[in-house]
Amino acid sequence: MSSQNFLDLLKQRFPGEIHRSALINDNELYVEIYQEKVPELSRFLVEEKSCALVSLFAADERANPSGCFAIYYVFGVTGANLFIVFKTLIPETKPVFQSIACHIPAAQLYEREIQDLFGLEPQGHPDPRRFALHNNWPPGVYPMRRDFDGRQKPPFVVTEKADQFTRVQGAGVYEIPVGPVHAGIIEPGHFRFSVAGEPIINLEAQLFYVTKGIEKLCEGQSIEKCFYFAERISGDETFANSLAYCQAIEKIAGIIPPERANFSRVIFAEQERLVSHLGDLAGICVDIAHGFGASQFRMLRGWTYQMIEEVSNSRFLRSVNKPGGLRKDFITGNEKRILEYLNRIRKELTETRNIIKSNSLFADRVEHTGILSNQIAKDLNVVGPAGRASGVHKDLRKDHPYSAYGKLSFDIPRHQNGDVNCRYQVKLEECFISMDLIIQSLEAMPPGKVREPVTEVEAYRFALGYSEAPRGENIHWIMTGPDNTVYRYKVRTPSFCNWPALCHAVKGNVVPDFPLINKSFNLSYAGNDL
């Protein structure tokens, strides 16, 4: 369905509600509507047109002619390369907005985030507790408002209610607090289990211990500098984040990167996916004490890191991207080396897969563990491998092709059961698909330059940049300011969508299975906390 059809449909269904609309960057349909009408129109899109809420954020546009806060609701259209963005204005004098979380559960956390960071209150929200800010943050201080100085450090507030977790009561029910500091070398997060013996009744995660304020830091910075912030959102998704950032900037600047850059980007993005998935597979093996599998996958991950380092000189693919293309032509002269590595990895990976497949105890551990039902996955808009394991077969590379993905032939894994085994299989299959994509790109890439310089960008223009990170869809939205700066940068990483899904997937499982389920999702703390 084209954008015009969609617009006509909306106008026909809701006559007189749409003040303004514009299609920009080929596939972003911006529709300005009254704030009271948002729940109705959103439900129409999600419930009748099977669109998914992929991002929801506010922007402090009080300095602009409108003089209001703006809230943007981004919907991805299923089956068409189109995003629909509702924009609604909230006056400073009446800082409330209609919550859509009751009908669209995926909106819950976004609305709580807006409440914490902007001080706009979602009316009718089922669970309006604090989320992005902890209780020791002073009330009434809203860090994402433009009049809040990001360098200032607000006082630490000591409150009576140190935690605000949901209490489960009953005979024999008790709570297990875990974290934020863990036994392994991992990022901080606090988990509160309510258990009856070993089975878990409820799990709540408290995150945002490593908030860096990236969105705030980027405001007013030059687009060159913001690129480095984007790369550092989450260490193991450096390339996916920089790619999303670059694409947004390129759209705003009206630049189309050269073909060679597009194919190179596919190669690097898939290398990053390979590393991430191999690490996850190793983690799954470690958590069920399968030493052989763990060391094999770790070895393969090491080889992939070596390949990446030899090609790009940076194991984490830092400074490989650049708005407009790539920093330099990394691929020329390295084609043979990449192919050799991939052959070695493919051979060893196939062997390892077969050995593990023949281990019935392994299968017993991963099957039926940590089931994420299809309904929950749909409602919470679970993305990436976790979604594809639960019957949500979405992939930005297929649904909204970017870079050179539209020119490559590949399929995505489709699983239904949503247990640890399915997530394991999805990741394993994607490793092979990634290697195929790299080989296809190496064959298909034309010679030529790898960068179209970005000189100047127009002020107050905006665009969505997106990429399929190893963990799932990654949506960035940028509005430029005057003098080549960034005015508002909204990052939504896949981890933000999937953390609540983890809490649902562990319910009913026993406590010692939690690390395994957690590892099968392998979410990023830094990517969530920003």
Binding site: I176, P177, V178, A183, G184, E198, D287, I288, A289, H290, G291, F292, A294, S295, Q296, M299, N359, L361, F362, D364, R365, T369, V510, V511, P512, D513, F514, P515
Partner: protein, 316 residues
């Protein structure tokens, strides 16, 4: 041989050799993963390091927490005295000592479970409850196995059991012994917190059993607990080695005047063999779901019971 000397040698072998077994198991596991692994003597270095360190004790604990390492180490060393490493070392034996061994280890566990609860930490309590669940399931199987062998030997003393099996060649060809060997081997795996029951190498507190109970210990206390754990492991290995693999008759066949030295070497070889068996089990399995562990305990019980039944019906 002087009674006291054999007494001393028995203790020395059990206490000094115990950490080596862990080294052997780790080496074999590392080998299966194309790694070099830690040095064979790593656990000795670790114990040495821990003994030199200060002990930190939480303020919320009672005297139980502080006394437990000594009770555990004492009980385990006492039990080690009662399981002769060799026929030539009849250190200390009397009717019924096998029951004493089992319940000395039981007492050690009882205090370990208490200390896990005593610290009041989340993980200690979880470890204690899991440990009790597993040990309750294993105890009947261990008792039946030992009593069946006692029936065959006509005595409930470990030394007499060893003598009874020593003269009979390769015992594992006899179904009773094969069934009991497998039953006790499963108990060895479970009692020493090995995969598939527990993962000795894990850092994940939520999945731990044994490690969770001793999580709050540090320094000298921790060293005692770790050392006691590996002596307990060697006790089970020695039981397996000397009752089910009595190869002394072959040794006697090779050199009629088998000396203490050569029989100790044979013992060492048997210990290494069983350690490798444990390592292979760890390599080829994965950790079971916690609620599948009872199935494994049931398997051990059925094997022991079949052995017992078979002996009652048809003899050896």
């Amino acid at each position: 041989m002087n009674y006291l000397a054999s007494f001393g040698l028995q203790i020395l072998v059990m206490v000094a050799l115990a950490p080596l077994v862990n080294g052997i198991i780790k080496k074999v596991k590392a080998f299966s993963q194309k790694r070099k692994g830690p040095p064979l003597l790593q656990l000795y270095y670790d114990l040495w390091k821990l003994f030199k360190k200060d002990t930190v004790v939480s303020e919320t604990t009672s005297w139980i927490f502080r006394i437990t390492p000594y009770i555990v180490a004492g009980a385990v060393v006492l039990a080690a005295l009662l399981v002769p490493v060799n026929l030539n070392l009849p250190s200390f034996h009397f009717a019924g000592d096998v029951i004493l061994v089992i319940y000395l280890l039981g007492m050690a566990r009882f205090f370990m479970v208490l200390s896990g609860l005593d610290s009041g930490s989340t993980f200690g309590g979880m470890g204690s409850s899991r440990e009790v669940m597993i040990s309750v399931l294993l105890e009947p199987s261990l008792l039946i196995s030992m009593f069946t062998i006692g029936l065959i030997a006509g005595s409930t003393s470990v030394y007499s059991m060893m003598i009874s099996s020593a003269g009979t060649g390769f015992l594992l060809f006899q179904p009773v012994y094969l069934l009991l060997f497998l039953a006790v081997f499963i108990i060895l795996i479970a009692e020493t917190s090995r995969i598939p029951v527990d993962d000795p190498a894990t850092h994940l507190e939520l999945t731990m059993v044994h490690e969770a109970m001793i999580l709050e210990y540090s320094g000298k206390h921790l060293a005692l607990m770790e050392w006691a754990a590996c002596i307990k492991q060697l006790i089970f290995i020695t039981l397996l080695a000397n009752i089910f693999l009595p190869l002394e008759s072959f040794l006697a066949f090779a050199s009629p005047n088998s000396t203490l030295m050569s029989s100790l070497l044979l013992y060492l070889a048997k210990v290494i063999f069983i350690a490798v068996l444990v390592a292979v089990t760890e390599i080829s399995t994965v950790k079971l779901r916690l609620f599948s562990v009872p199935n494994l305990a049931a398997l051990s019980f059925i094997l022991a019971f079949l052995g017992f039944f078979q002996y009652l019906l048809v003899g050896r």
